[in-house]
């Protein structure tokens, strides 16, 4: 997992830098890396929650619009 996270963190940083409108400074790159590390830690926490294949996101898709009326 550590290697995967390192590789993924690097890939995410590359993507973030590609989306930036200018090259980042070293200090700015460090800030983005900190956020990416935090995001990866959050994913690990979220992955610890057992979810079944059929567990949908909230809110679910509503083809007829929101429940109820005005």
């Amino acid at each position: 997992m550590g290697n995967l996270n390192n590789a993924e963190a690097a890939a995410r940083l590359a993507l973030a830098e590609a989306r930036a409108h200018r090259p980042l400074t070293e200090a700015e790159r460090e800030l983005v890396q900190q956020r990416i590390a935090r995001d990866l830690a959050h994913r690990a926490e979220l992955r610890s929650v057992p979810l079944a294949n059929g567990d949908p996101p909230d809110p679910p898709f509503q083809p007829a619009g929101p429940r109820g009326g005005a």
């Binding site: 973030a16 989306r19 830690a41 979220l46 996101p57 679910p60 619009g65 009326g69």
Partner: protein, 464 residues
């Protein structure tokens, strides 16, 4: 003729009584508010834009209507301020951000329209952390107007992101203000300024015309001197709006007259990491709540609320501000960390976002079941009193990390009320927090009014 200090010390009921007795006029109240905002409010960095032209028109109309026997209710003729992420025609709406200092909108936000129809008088657009704090700010100096200073002590932070709303009410510049909260942005400024702040159930108040940070977590709510004043303001703000689908299908707000016999919960780890002075005020508050009902200690379902909330906000904010980021406008933001941190959200996989939403569905179910028997969960309002104005949050361990109930409540759209709980360290305000069930807003506000009938902390006078 009211003095400025009379005005600053008065709550909504007192101001309304003076208006109807003829002791003052709405125009006079608006002028007092404008004057105090321009001096005390600006000293606290609580003001972005005064709205004197609009205020005088609305106040004159309120006076004429009262003279003609037309009374729109408790907000009639009362001045209020709005966080500057709400669109108001004729004035800039900056979202607290330097690159948007000239931004204008063609229509008023829904909540501004509703308050005008309730007779309230808009006197100012109030300061806020730039872009509602969603860009990763790490210090109070993260706003177009400078760091928000607490009404209790200008060398302390007012909290964020509704900094100006909290400080302006706390300093008696306005009796009422609109705040917004995605995660803590009403509650923290309420705690740090010694005012009462209410976060409604997600969808109770329309966000049409408000800056979006997180479509599935943004809420708009009142900040005032008391829970009763918050309820009066909420009645003027809430209701269905086709322009905000989240408001459709929600029950209409109905006040509760209950003032005793409540069922409270506390959390087993409620004071873990909380500073001693705040914990002492929390325990003192529990003695008051014990006289209002039963108290049962519970544990929240063990779920990663904060991780889910953080992931949802990161992705939704990155999407909401994608063009802003790509255009380089973030380079003009005040806090250096705000200029780049949200780029990480553009690189967050869709599967992570969806997993956070799937965990939220589970959290909604399990939290709903855990709280079903209770009118409110009582917790300390915040782990400390307001920090120094130059504090960097990342240098304070767990500055934003300990509030599990706040993460859970905001993720799941639960209502919450922050109540003054008396002075802590250095005489600065502390607070207790009530968290309720979805759509049990009236119960939470009823508990708050019962608590404030037994305490005087919310009556602490603003500085002269």
């Amino acid at each position: 003729m009211l003095s400025e200090q009379d005005f600053a010390n008065a709550d909504l009921a007192q101001l309304g009584a003076w208006l109807r007795e003829g002791r003052t006029t709405s125009v006079a109240l608006a002028e007092l508010a404008l004057q105090r905002l321009n001096t005390v409010g600006r000293d606290l960095n609580a003001v972005v834009t005064l709205t004197p032209g609009r205020a005088r028109l609305e106040a004159a109309q309120a006076d004429a209507e009262l003279a003609a026997g037309q009374d729109r209710g408790p907000l009639h003729g009362i001045p209020y301020g709005a966080k500057d992420l709400l669109a108001v025609t004729g004035y800039p709406t900056t979202w607290g951000a330097a690159p948007l200092r000239s931004q204008r909108f063609a229509d008023d936000a829904d909540v501004i329209v509703r308050l005008r129809e309730a007779g309230a008088v808009l006197v100012a657009k109030l300061a806020m952390v730039e872009l509602a704090g969603g860009f990763g700010y790490d210090q109070p100096d993260a706003a177009l107007t400078g760091p928000g200073r607490s009404a209790a002590n200008r060398e302390r932070w007012a909290g964020g992101s509704s900094s100006g709303s909290g400080a302006a009410v706390g300093a008696g510049c306005v009796p009422l203000a609109i705040g917004t909260e995605t995660w803590g942005s009403i509650h923290v400024p309420a705690a740090f300024n010694g005012v009462t702040g209410f976060r409604p159930t997600f969808g109770l108040v329309s966000r049409a015309g408000a800056m979006a940070l997180s479509w599935s977590m943004d809420k708009i709510g009142p900040m005032a001197r008391s829970a009763a004043d918050c309820e009066a303001m909420l009645l003027g703000m809430a209701g269905p709006d086709p322009a905000d689908p989240a408001t459709l299908g929600r029950p209409r707000y109905q006040p509760s007259e209950q003032r005793s016999g409540f069922r409270f919960a506390t959390l087993k780890d409620a004071v873990h990491g909380v500073e001693d002075d705040v914990a002492a005020r929390y325990h003192a508050a529990l003695e008051v709540f014990a006289g209002l009902g039963s108290i049962t200690e519970i544990a929240l379902p063990d779920l990663p609320y904060n991780a889910a909330a953080s992931t949802v906000i990161a992705v939704e904010a990155a999407s909401a501000f994608e063009e802003f980021l790509e255009a380089g406008l973030a380079d003009e933001l005040t806090a250096p960390e705000d200029r780049v941190s949200l780029l990480a959200g553009l690189a967050l996989p869709a599967t992570d976002y969806l997993r956070a939403l799937r965990v939220r569905a589970k959290a909604v179910r399990e939290l709903g079941a855990a709280l079903a028997e209770f009118d409110a969960v009582i917790t300390p309002g915040y782990r400390s009193v307001a920090p120094p104005i130059d504090q960097h949050f990342s240098k304070e361990p767990n500055f934003f990390g300990l509030r599990t109930i706040d993460g859970a409540a905001n993720l799941c759209g639960l209502p919450g009320l922050m109540l003054p709980a008396g002075p802590g360290a250095l005489g600065l305000p502390t607070a207790v927090c009530l968290t309720g069930r979805v759509d049990a807003d009236a119960q939470v506000l009823a508990v708050g009014q019962a608590y404030q009938a037994q305490t005087t902390w919310h009556r602490a006078l603003p500085p002269a």
